[in-house]
Structures are given as C-alpha cells and as structure tokens.
C-alpha cells in the first residue's frame, strides 16, 4: 500500500471499502456518504496536495449490484503522485455529492457522467446534458441502451 492510501486509511478508515495498488496505481473504493470530505482531504492535506482532478468518469457494471461506479483520477502536480478513487452507486439511487466545490474543473466531467450514465451529482451548479441535446431520450453509455435505438427526428412520421 502506497503512502497516499495509508494516509487516507488513517483518516477515513471506515469509509474505505477496499484498496489495491495493482501495477503501482493506488486505488481506493470508498463509500459515497462522505465523498466530498474525502476529496477535500486529498486536496488539502500537506502530504497529499491533489490539486489536479484529471478525470471523472462513470462505469456501468450491468448485472452487478451496485450497478454504477464513479471513478476519480487525481494527480498532484507538486508531489507528482496519483490516486484513483472509486465509488459504487446503486441502480435505484445513482446519486452522489458533487465535487465541483473541491475542484471547479470537474464541472464538465460530472455533466458528462450525468449525460452518458444518468448519474446524478447532488449540488452541481448546472447539471444538464453536455454532449447530447436536451431532447435526447435515455443515457447512451448505459449497457442496457439498445444498440439499434433511434432518436425521434424532425422529419415526417414514418
């Protein structure tokens, strides 16, 4: 276990469901309730200083429970280290607190995850679709989105 995960486990022990460091990539699976606290700690702790939220994405593990997963990829420009934070979300309640208050740059990533997977980020300042248009039906990167599904067009009725 790397230094980052040790500090995280010492501070938020009960919140962390699992960790691994496969191929040197520190990863922590955490519970969603105190995610903003965890991310703020990662950003502000003098030994961690994760000042760069490189990516946020969703994953759909269709057939598993919990079904959805939110993945944060964090990097520290000053300390030159990385960590990956994962949170699992249930299908009937895919809601997690927004991290925009921690890194404002994560705004559009959360909108993308909302657009593609329907994951709701509570407290997001503008949680609207970012790639698809407003009238789009469904969330296209969900594994149960039908491959042959077509959107209504403005043309004549078929």
């Amino acid at each position: 276990m790397g230094l980052v995960l040790e500090k995280l486990a010492a501070r938020f022990g009960p919140e962390i469901a699992a960790t691994h460091s496969n191929f040197g990539d520190d990863t922590a699976l955490v519970r969603r309730e105190r995610i903003v606290e965890i991310l703020t700690f990662l950003r502000d702790d003098p030994g961690l200083l994760f000042d760069f939220a490189m990516d946020l994405t969703g994953v759909d593990y269709l057939g598993e429970e919990p079904r959805f997963e939110v993945v944060y990829h964090l990097y520290s420009l000053r300390m030159n280290h990385r960590v990956r934070i994962k949170v699992r979300l249930h299908e009937d309640d895919p809601v997690i607190d927004s991290a925009v208050s921690v890194w404002s740059g994560i705004n559009w990533y959360e909108r993308e995850a909302y657009d593609m997977y329907g994951i709701v980020f509570r407290g997001h300042p503008n949680l609207t679709r970012i790639l698809m248009y407003e009238g789009f039906q469904g969330h296209p990167l969900r594994k149960d989105y039908p491959k042959a599904k077509r959107q209504p067009t403005i043309g004549p009725e078929e």
Binding site: F136, G138, Q151
Partner: protein, 166 residues
C-alpha cells in the same frame, strides 16, 4: 430547341420554350452550398480546386448563405444534434432547390450505426442525388452535378415532389 440559320447570311432565329430557356440558364449557374461536416468536405475542396475544376460545369460559386444557393451539398456525417440545423438551412433555401447527399454517412449513416448519427438525411429532407463512397472522389461530385443538370434540363420531377418515401 430548334435553330434555323439562314443561308444568305441574314440573321437566323431560334425556336424554344421559355421553360427550356430558363432551364438552360439554370443548369449552368448552380450555386452550391456545401454543408461540410466531415472528410467529404475535403473532397469538395478538391473538386472545386484547379485540378478537377467544378467551374467547368458552372457550379463553382459556393454560397454559404442558403438564400443565395440552389444546391445543398451535404458532405459528411449528420448527427441528431445537427439535423435540425440542416433542416433549417434547407428550409431557408429558395425554390427551386436540389439536394446532393454526398458519401455514405449523409446517405445512410455509413458505419456510424450508433446512438448519435442520423441514419441518412433523407429522413429529414428530400434528396435528389446520392453519391456513394467514403469519401467519394471528386469525379463523384462532378457526376452528381451533371445529374442535377440533367434533372433540370429534362424537367424530371425533383425529389421534393415524391417525398417522403413510403
């Protein structure tokens, strides 16, 4: 069009109809609007350039205002988000107007069989000439322009008159 040249050097005369006279003028002054959204647009540039020289067929004056264009040349992938924009441009063009669907993406969605790409622009507008290819080469564009000229010359019905296709 019947032409009779007098043998004694006096001015001759020509017999024609107003429709065919207008069509003759129209077919050599097609103003295309290139709606280029993908690599097909590069081939359009090649067709308009000096080597293939689409101006030989009177169709080199590209108008990016739909109010001034006769032919809508849809060159590239049209996704659902772009479809209302394309339809608006088609509606803004003045009659008579023709539509060329260039490449497989515009014609049928091509290999973009996914959640975001419109599966052929003929779902939202009538198309007079389809150009196959991915992308088509400039000869295909020239051929399509000549096909449009034939439609004008013969007075063949435009696609708008038999659309939507059932």
């Amino acid at each position: 069009m019947a032409v009779n040249r007098a043998r004694d050097g006096a001015p001759g005369y020509a017999l024609t109809t107003l429709e065919s006279m207008v069509a003759w003028g129209r077919k050599y002054s097609l103003f295309p609007l290139t709606f280029a959204t993908a690599c097909c647009g590069i081939e359009v540039m090649g067709a308009l350039g000096t080597h293939y020289d689409l101006s030989r067929f009177g169709a080199e004056v590209v108008r990016f205002s739909p109010r001034q264009a006769d032919v809508l040349l849809v060159a590239g992938t049209i996704n659902y988000k772009m479809a209302p924009v394309l339809r608006r441009i088609y509606d803004q063009m003045l009659e008579p107007k023709w539509v060329i669907s260039m490449g497989v993406c515009a014609s049928s969605g091509g290999f973009y069989n996914n959640y975001t790409v419109l599966q052929g622009i003929d779902k939202i507008m009538p198309v007079d000439v389809y150009i196959p290819g991915c992308p088509p080469n400039p000869e295909g564009i020239i051929d399509a322009v000549v096909q449009i000229q034939k439609i004008i010359e013969t007075g063949a019905p435009r696609a708008a008159e038999r659309w939507p296709i059932k």
